[in-house]
Symmetry: C3
Subunit: 314 residues, 3 copies
């Protein structure tokens, strides 16, 4: 369901539900929460219970939702591995599990390896459902936190130049982010990835038609020096079953590359976790904000969503 | 230990501890909690810590206890799989684990695959222990929530006609419920199950002698049309090692059966999880309350028990 | 970093950071917390979020930290098995995991099977890190709770005679405790262990040089009757890969041994879990406090540390 001004009791399944007004309402709420004293926040969701159902491993997304709920004074029911610890092992359907959890909680955050599961869940329950990643599908809260991090730095989501590097085929976070950006004007994004992991032609045309100026490049040499941000991703090995005889060459984010192709005002982001595609000597560079500001904004965006969806309406 | 009026700091191990007075005190407390504004409830167990030790997979029972504690303002210590994550892997006995957890908490909720474990636990610790299912033993809080759901609908637990369908040999919830009903008068229950899963002769006689009018039937055709409730269970495959060459025929709960043998005032319950013994087209029928009212009452009954056992005495 | 008077925002990695003043500040704080009404404690860490990252199975240490945080009004983010449920399975380094969790929380408690991990963690994050056991390394909070239990009983940590029995080679708790005691004067400790599990010569000399009067004995017969405390440990089978043809003979703590070699004023402690090295008939003896006072002090010591590290400075 489309969200415009009113988030109250709405599901968050896809970036498709958002328009510029709703995106910016999330950002304004997150910015306000960042400035609010910690103890004042505890009243916002006092008495609420939020269920976190994570059918896939997660540190970041699980922990940031858990912390977000608790920092607003809510409590959580947590299942970190329901494949092993819940009635799912007895053969229960996801729909039944959701209906039951609905009876105990005020909202459900779900991560699941199968595309479409969050929407399926939202269709069977009346309380709000937040999609925390559904397989190769979407990851809307990640897109919001990434966009918020850029917005916070540059004050706009229009007229930007960005470099995206990595896996555009299986990376759900990236796809959700491109969708979000296609609501905005005059953005040029350079895409650098191994050939096997490029956007599908269909996706490429889709985002093009929505107004994104996408430029595929073939090597680090073609990166323009005036990017506002670089956005790196790992190769989702767990989803990608490549011909193993073929080595996938992934561009490496290194201090040397940043020296050669970067600029002073830019920021460097990563969807995390990172494996070998980042040279860790780069961590000390203050432009690299993936382990700090970007991660912390993950918590604030989730706090913003929780408070908009479940907080008392004034 | 028998409970009559006073639940304070008592264990809840078996339905045998209850009499009509204590059962109805739980029901009255649950009914009152259902009507109390959410934020008012948070004071009842503020400052209390309840340990949830689940040595067996569970969604419903785990989550409803977790939510019940938190909705009363308590906090929890949670072990969802202590076989893998705790000192049990180092060879510690259940008695030692319980003694240790006792030092940190105000009450312990335990689920365990071995019959008698909850009682064993209660014998070694001084804080209250709640049995959340001990193997093929008992499941007293499930029986209370089931009976409460019937009581809430019909205002009584006397003079009822019910159909029980499924597994009477390994289903602990059902056995606890029959025990509870045998405190009440003039109840007639039709029992429909595959031959291999009928009540043992011993159990059959036991409940008969306690005053339950039990009638075993052999097919759906014999279901009387005037039941107050139908109560379905799944076959506990994980406990039941049948001759696999023999197929167990389980009666299916379907819209057609409900049309043919049901009536307007009845309710349809299920102990959940359900597998193949329910035709899901039935879910929309408002008489089917297993995914809604019955499940939600699970949380309220646990809230009632927690508040009676741990709440401040006025 | 050395702690002397001021714990605020400090890491707790090793007993080496402590001096007598800081040890006794922890004890005084724990003693005060023990006497404070439960509801009054909830304000101390209200609004704080503490992450519990347990990369190794634990009942006691995990649960006591969880309860300690919650009894002070804090909330927790819990990962009981991050090897299976977090981004660690995707190949993320411990440093990255820590940096991310830092963004969401006010302190991190970490247990990890590899020596040095807690320190490594503390080096990469700015929030306080508490070492809850790092492989065969240290277990400073266990040493503090053990010493507090002795101090509480005898009013001093000087001029004591103790018997240590068990595994001095792989037992991290014991090593941390000997370090703590070496700040104090005139203590004589008898050490009884299978030959393979004795202190290394290096360790033996180290503690000797620090002023501990250590006496290795070869059998139960040599235990002096005037010990203030006995301190038993299990053999850490999971760390110890012995020649399996050789049986390790471990002294058994039994009522008979206590009758023969004990005295009325002593206390009997154990680091737990216990396996076969304790004859359970001894549990009823009030001098055995490992399942009661010693365990409970574990929670109070962690409450003291949390409140000193994170509580508002008055």
């Amino acid at each position: 369901m489309k969200i415009s001004e009113d988030f109250f009791l709405k599901d968050i399944i896809s970036i498709d539900q958002f328009d510029k007004r709703s995106v910016e309402k999330v950002f304004a709420t997150a910015a306000k929460i960042k400035k609010t004293p910690v103890k004042k926040l505890l009243k916002i969701l006092s008495g609420k219970v939020i269920a976190l159902l994570f059918f896939e491993p997660s540190t970041r997304t699980f922990s940031s939702h858990s912390a977000a709920a608790k920092r607003l004074g809510a409590q959580t029911i947590e299942h970190q591995n329901p494949m092993q610890t819940s009635s799912v092992v007895k053969g229960e359907t996801i729909e039944d599990t959701m209906k039951i959890i609905e009876q105990y909680s005020d909202a459900i955050v779900i991560r699941h390896p199968m595309i479409g599961t969050a929407e399926k869940a939202a269709n069977v329950v009346d309380i709000p459902v937040i999609n925390a990643g559904d397989g190769a599908g979407e990851h809307p809260t990640q897109a919001l936190l990434d966009a918020f991090t850029i917005y916070e730095r540059f004050g706009t989501l229009d007229n930007l130049t960005g470099l995206f590097c990595g896996d555009f085929r299986y990376g759900r976070a990236l796809r959700s982010l491109l969708k979000l950006f296609s609501m905005y004007k005059n953005n040029t994004f350079y895409l650098l990835s191994p050939e096997e992991l490029r956007l599908t032609e269909e996706d490429f045309r889709l985002y093009k038609n929505k107004g994104l100026n996408l430029i595929e490049i073939n090597s680090e040499k073609e990166i323009p020096s005036y990017c506002h941000f670089w956005y790196w991703t790992r190769i989702q090995k767990e989803r990608f079953k490549a011909d193993k005889s073929k080595k996938i060459l992934m561009p490496i984010l290194s201090p040397e590359l940043l020296e050669k192709k970067g600029n002073k005002k830019m920021i460097v982001m990563h969807v995390l976790p990172r494996i070998d595609e980042v040279d860790k000597r780069i961590d000390k560079d203050p432009r690299c904000i993936f382990l700090t500001t970007q991660a912390k904004n993950g918590m604030f965006i989730r706090m913003a969503l929780f408070s908009l969806i479940l907080g008392d309406r004034r």
